[in-house]
């Protein structure tokens, strides 16, 4: 069994390498590549320019704490706001559609059109949605919100209906036999049973949307991406790096928040709602035990 598994992995790797070899026309290009990257980072990017966290010269900062008038804070906050609104709207939209797309909740003749709709929404990347909405409603955060919402519906919708299809069938069967309505089954059986996964997907999508705020900002849909795009055009790569580090920190914070929220619905979790302090203490204890 184990040997068969190793052979299968070996065969897959070999196939991947043969395909890669077919795609790459000149392996010689790899030589000196790392050196180029090293030169670029040392000369243009490093050290990061933290002036992006200082107040801008215009408009005049009226806040006592200068950080709140900085490009980093303003851009990041706009990105977080866009990502938050888009994630919530997209999550609710996806919940509505995915409940009709799951094969174990609906007959295939109903599920198939909803699956097709979700595939269509997902097949356009958020960048293309952003370009479409910038054309339709002009530059700004609203275009970003709409672009991310549409992409979130398609992406989360697929994850959600696959989660429903993987849930244990016995509680669903009982509900169907008892004659509960589709909304009652969905809200009272499916959501509680899959809550942990749905919450995890929601937080992942929020994190994804924050990261993608950088991309859709480049086409004028608002957020920190607008500033990154500006600094890229001005060849100020050290400022770009500082903003990328800021995004990285925010992504880590979102991951911690996700861990905390999911502890509400895990099997072993306490029924009482965890407090921030107890949660952080748990993390510290875990760190100590691993040391």
């Amino acid at each position: 069994m184990r040997r068969g598994f190793l052979y299968a992995i070996g065969a897959l790797l070999l196939t991947a390498f043969i395909i890669l070899n077919d795609l790459v026309d000149d392996w010689g290009r790899l030589s000196g590549g790392m050196e180029n990257l090293s030169v670029f980072i040392q000369e243009s990017m490093w050290p990061p320019n933290w002036s992006v966290l200082e107040a801008q010269s215009y408009p005049v900062c009226e806040n006592k704490i200068e950080f709140f008038c900085s490009v980093g804070y303003i851009g990041m906050m706009e990105t977080i706001k866009i990502a938050f609104v888009a994630t919530i709207l997209g999550f609710i939209g996806a919940l509505c559609l995915s409940s009709f797309a799951a094969k174990n909740l609906m007959p295939m003749r109903i599920a198939f059109p909803f699956r097709t709709l979700l595939s269509a929404t997902r097949s356009l990347p958020s960048l293309i949605w952003a370009i479409i909405f910038v054309i339709v409603i002009g530059f700004g955060p609203l275009a970003g919100v709409l672009a991310m919402t549409f992409y979130t519906i398609g992406y989360l919708g697929k994850l959600q209906y696959e989660t429903y299809e993987g849930m244990p069938s016995d509680s669903l069967e009982v509900s169907k036999a008892m004659g509960l309505s589709h909304p009652a089954i969905f809200t009272s059986v499916v959501i509680p049973e899959t809550g942990n996964h749905l919450l995890s997907q929601l937080m992942f999508m929020f994190e994804y949307n924050v990261r993608h705020g950088t991309v859709i900002g480049i086409v004028g849909a608002g957020g920190i991406g607008y500033y990154i795009n500006t600094y890229l055009k001005l060849l100020q790569y050290d400022k770009v790096l500082a903003l990328l580090i800021l995004i990285f920190v925010v992504v880590i914070l979102i991951d911690l928040l996700s861990l905390m929220l999911r502890s509400f619905v895990t099997d072993e979790g306490d029924v009482r709602q965890p407090k921030w302090l107890s949660f952080l203490m748990k993390l510290r204890k875990r760190d100590e035990s691993t040391e």
Binding site: E173, K176, M178
Partner: protein
């Protein structure tokens, strides 16, 4: 005159091949039927076919039940919502027979609390299902059926894993339903439980279902001994 609740006509049940063939039977209100037979002979598949969860291979299942919550079902694995409380699970039964447009929230709450009390689970009302023992879980599933008050209840080994005292409590609670004109079709392995509750026996042997009275069943058992 007792009311016809279920009519099986020339029914064959199974998956790739027939497990039970040519079943033609009726269930009337107030009856308690025990489905007996060896493991893997098709008892659960028969119950699931009646519940509409498995397509009959041939023949028909006709249910003469109220539109909302007329049929109750307790499967072997109970089908409880693991990430929810006892109250939430029992309330599903009440919601099946009293949807929002048919009954008030207070009426549903009354049914739920009295079903939980009948099963002696008052202290566990807000406890999540995953924290309960096997016997407590069976009582929750029974409480869900009590709150639903289905005209026909299908139960698959719902008395297993229960101690004698709890079996008495559950049987008494189910009998209040059947005394009221509701019916129960249950898969059961323990003869003492069958003796205690059943009014009719469906014995599955060699792909055939034999419908018999308790006395006929006793006689058959004596002959076999």
């Amino acid at each position: 005159m007792s009311e016809l609740l279920l009519k099986l006509t020339n029914l064959n049940v199974g998956f790739s091949e027939d497990l039970v063939q040519d079943v033609s039977l009726e269930v009337r209100s107030g009856e308690i039927i025990a489905v007996l037979g060896q493991s893997g002979i098709g008892k659960t598949t028969l119950i699931r076919t009646i519940a509409g969860l498995v397509q009959p291979r041939q023949g028909s299942v006709e249910l003469n039940l109220p539109e909302h919550g007329g049929l109750g079902y307790i499967p072997q694995r109970l089908g409880l919502v693991r990430h929810a409380s006892v109250y939430h699970n029992v309330n599903l039964g009440a919601r099946a027979s009293l949807p929002w447009f048919k009954g008030s929230r207070e009426e549903r709450a009354r049914r739920v609390t009295s079903a939980i009390a009948a099963m002696g689970l008052e202290e566990k009302t807000l406890e999540p299902i995953r924290r309960l023992s096997g016997g407590q879980l069976r009582r929750v599933a029974t409480a869900r059926a009590l709150a639903q008050q289905p005209k026909l209840l299908l139960a698959d080994e719902f008395l297993s894993e229960l101690d004698h005292t709890t079996v008495d409590v559950v049987v008494d609670a189910v009998k209040t339903l059947t005394d009221d004109g509701h019916s129960l079709v249950m898969v059961e392995h323990h003869e003492e439980n069958v003796e205690m509750i059943a009014t009719r026996i469906w014995l599955i042997e060699n792909q055939q279902l034999i419908d018999m009275t308790i006395d006929e069943w006793h006689k058959k058992m004596e002959e076999e001994e």
